[in-house]
Subunit: 229 residues, 2 copies
Amino acid sequence: MEESRCENCIVRQFNALRAMTKEELKAVSDSKETRTIRKGESLFEEGDKLGGVMCVRNGVSKLSKLSANGKDQIVKLATKGQVMGQRSVVAEEATNLSAVAVSDMEVCFIPKDSINSALHKNPDFTLEVLRHMAHDLREADDVIVNMSQKTVKQRMAEAFLYLQRFGVDEDGYFNLRLSREDISNVVGTATESAIRIISEFKKKGLIIASGKRLGVKDEKKLRDLAEGF
Amino acid sequence: MEESRCENCIVRQFNALRAMTKEELKAVSDSKETRTIRKGESLFEEGDKLGGVMCVRNGVSKLSKLSANGKDQIVKLATKGQVMGQRSVVAEEATNLSAVAVSDMEVCFIPKDSINSALHKNPDFTLEVLRHMAHDLREADDVIVNMSQKTVKQRMAEAFLYLQRFGVDEDGYFNLRLSREDISNVVGTATESAIRIISEFKKKGLIIASGKRLGVKDEKKLRDLAEGF
DNA sequence: CGACTCATTGAGACCGCTCAAGAAACGTGG
DNA sequence: CCACGTTTCTTGAGCGGTCTCAATGAGTCG
């Protein structure tokens, strides 16, 4: 039971909860609820009013938004230590994104009351949350520019570099197995286009691919491609 | 001199400064510096380390980011009451955006020290800043989806609806006069494409246009078009 | 009135999307 | 373990949207 207390949770180092006081952390730990989510299951849907935030202990979730033409755009992937739904809780609005597990997950649901009381009383914590959100906002700005100014091929190269951040096995394959459709939803393109580019990259020796197993082979060339050289 | 004090400044109602205490506001007011910026002049450049934030008193500034292919992408327009550079100050990083005036402006430069001390001591203020940033982040997510999933025509329709928010004159023309190039940088397209779509919209009676003067004519149809009908 | 910048229009090439069909991988129940 | 349906992946062909280049017209300011 010890390791199920937030006070002892390692992932806390990666998020804003580390700025909480012992007492606040205790309150969070007492009210939280650990959940196991199977791959493919939904954590919440766009438009839901969230009663709290989700802290990822293990696994990866895609955060996506449905567009008018019926396609999902994956805005970001949340992994160990990241907190989902904080935007919604802070702004007291419904979520603008849906969250679906892309691998089996373990998440802690933290009711918003314990978050809110800390937000009102502990400026260090609030500031830490603010810093994380500032970081997210910067990344979002970068994505906007990429989406509007780069070709699908460049964005695909970036996507591979992005996926690499979630870890690779001894052969260099990504730990995270995304379907071609999910990849195309990260890149913002048609699935067929994504597939064609993947096989092109493979032929050119930029990446390794065998079935669903994908990985980066020539990081430097991918980076150059993403920058437009 | 009275109206140059932040305590009496009306635009404060629109931003996070309204959550400051009287004392904090006094400190801000004593350290701030009012600047007049001519249309076309730059407020700061991508990569600059900002010594503080800019609060817009009057006029409009474009916040843009240069992409590798040499084109600016306008991420947002900041107008009366909006604070620029807070992301950079909060995260203690260089700015990720450049700011250039698109009309004559009056802005107040507020050194970061007075902001930072309030951020550490006044949770109400910090929370208010956080809420604003949460709102910005939501808008950024929406833009990402629009950029990746909508056609240039749809985005152009959205751009017109967006520009309308900055006010119109008695004839329905936008108060804000953007060049075709700036418009295309909002939409994220080539200038020629933007021009062609503008004349198409005019022909169809969706907008009014005479030279640089632009305006919305049929808001409903524009909205439908933006949504993909 | 010249030297700008900005707006407009045309034509051609290319990129990326869609539709359609087949191959491979996966899961499930017999 | 196999047969089956279902999903996912792959490839081809064609169309349409968007970009680029280039030339012309219009507006602005000394």
